[in-house]
């Protein structure tokens, strides 16, 4: 695999230097470029295919969905979606939306001042604080889940969406602090001071100097916090039951029935993944920034 990939850079240089001066690269046959393009497409399609398959199967009647060998041209049916939406998915979907959106807002509200105190007007030993935040991310959730469960049981917070909101906020806080710190560190401090000397108001400074640098960071942090909250299963499964259960928990309960269920499972999986797919596709660059905690810009 890696030899093919190495020649991947070769192929690109052949095209890059084609217009430039004569180099030994031109001796390379142009076919390798075509080969690498086909290979890239093949790999992309291979990784994409399971997602496509999920969508295809979701639009089939259960009997067609379970055919072996697979029938690519089976008639379209909404049976799977009808079964899914009749099973009452709206409360869990709404719970997921509430938990993800509210916790994301809380994370940004708390992480932004913290990131400010770790970059623009740094506290002493700010690197230690930053690494403390990162180290909490290495503490597995299972290592604290039992006391949280017992606490929630004692205070009647089990099956309450606010418990999940608070937990998701703390779960995503380290990521948001790291990301926002790395973006705020790029705010030109001299310009901040110059603006102050010139008598610019705080709002003007924020809008014209800080916002252009920081808004992309906030957007990436928010996107990644939203995705991780939306995806979370373990905490939601242990701490909620009927009232506050989220979409991932609802999904796991969807397979227990007997008989054919492939189309409805695919329909359910697709609907639950749709918000993440839409947000991720719409903001691919923000996704990369978010996943790398701001190290890639």
């Amino acid at each position: 695999m890696s030899t093919q990939a190495e020649s991947g850079t070769t192929g690109s240089t052949a095209t890059r230097t084609a217009s430039g001066g004569r180099t030994f690269q031109q001796a390379r046959p142009p076919r390798s470029g075509l080969f690498l393009t086909v290979l890239a497409w093949a790999v992309g399609l291979l990784f994409f295919f399971p997602v496509l398959w999920m969508v295809l199967v979701s639009f089939r009647a259960e009997t067609d969905a379970a055919s072996n060998p697979p029938d690519l041209f089976a008639p379209v049916s909404l049976e799977g979606y009808r079964t899914f939406f009749e099973a009452g998915p709206w409360p869990p979907l709404l719970n997921s939306m509430t938990a993800s959106v509210v916790s994301t807002v809380l994370v940004i509200l708390l992480a932004f001042p913290a990131a400010y105190a770790l970059s623009i007007r740094p506290v002493k030993k700010w690197t230690d604080v930053l690494f403390f935040f990162l180290s909490t991310k290495m503490l597995p959730i299972v290592a604290g889940i039992l006391p949280i469960y017992l606490f929630a049981q004692a205070t009647n917070l089990l099956d309450n969406i606010w418990l999940l909101i608070i937990l998701y906020t703390s779960m995503n806080m380290p990521i948001a602090v790291w990301m926002l710190q790395s973006f705020l560190a790029e705010v030109p401090v001299e310009m901040l001071e110059a603006a102050q000397v010139d008598g610019a108001s705080l709002m003007t400074t924020l809008r014209q100097v800080v916002a252009p640098v920081v808004m992309p960071g906030i957007a990436s942090a928010a996107l990644i916090c939203f995705i991780f909250s939306w995806n979370e299963l373990l905490l939601a499964r242990v701490l909620t039951s009927t009232v506050a259960s989220t979409a991932p928990v609802f999904l796991t309960s969807f397979v227990t029935s007997q008989g054919l269920f492939l189309a409805k499972v695919c329909a359910a999986s697709f609907v639950v993944s749709l918000p993440v797919l839409a947000a991720g596709f719409a903001a691919q660059d923000k996704l990369v920034q978010g996943l790398s905690m701001g190290a890639v810009k």
């Binding site: 503490l139 959730i141 290592a143």
Partner: protein
Amino acid sequence: MSSTDTASVGTNPEQGRSGATPPARRRQTRSDSWQRRIPLLPALIFVIVMTQLPFLGTIIISFMNWNAYYPDERGFAGFSNFARVFTDVNARSAVFVTILITVATVLISLLLGLAIALLLDRKFRGQGIVRTMMIAPFLVVPVAAALLWKHALYNPEYGLFNGLLTLVLGENAPQPDWVGTMPLPALIAALVWQWTPFMMLILLAGLQSRPLDVVEAARIDGASEFRIFTSMTLPHLRQYIELSTLLGTIYVVQNFDHVFTITAGATGTANLPYFIYQTFYTAQDYGRASAAGVVTVLGTLIVAMFALRTAFAIFKEEGR
């Protein structure tokens, strides 16, 4: 007290120049350092309360004899829970499975991700479309992805894999029970499918930040492509490789969704998160679950020390 004051004066360049600090200034510095701390405190206190307190609870419970099915027998247990964790075959298997799943998933995803990133780091027709297709697996909700693999792909009767075998080899094609006969590879394959895009995205961003003029100069000087890859591209990618490995490990070690959905921990596939979940949630053995939790954290700590050192190196190279 005075030593901390001088330390703070020392870090302030403006006052460092003026030498001796008048008492009034000194008080101002102290209030200044508090002013600096105030915006940090809400987030910091919140995270400490939410992560350290529960863990403290876990440590306390790990020394207790506490099973919710036998509430009358609650009491101090000493190290017996730990002894049971270390002698329990299932617990030891969970440690082994966690390491195996994590190392295999991260390593395979990293190599595949690197190869695909190199493949996508050249201009070709449909580059953007291929990149978008590559990202899709990562954007499927993990539980949904696990369900998709278990039922739509792996199912021995109507899954896609066996369906394709029938399509290619005809009626008498072998129809293996993928999850039943090879549960761990089945789990790892499903995880690799989701984590390769993650690795690829970070490495591709790294490749695209490579200074191309230097590479071009080396090429004109007659450096071979292999030399350019090993002595220019790889060293440049090093910090991105380390970063994606570190983050991938953090997430894959804690994986619960795939184990829970695809195998439900059966046939020796329970990793530590699933084992603890089962001990606490199904068996209601709080003491033993907590002891396993403490052991997990101690194990993670050892790995985390190396990981944090790596992160620190990346952090310094970045020069923030």
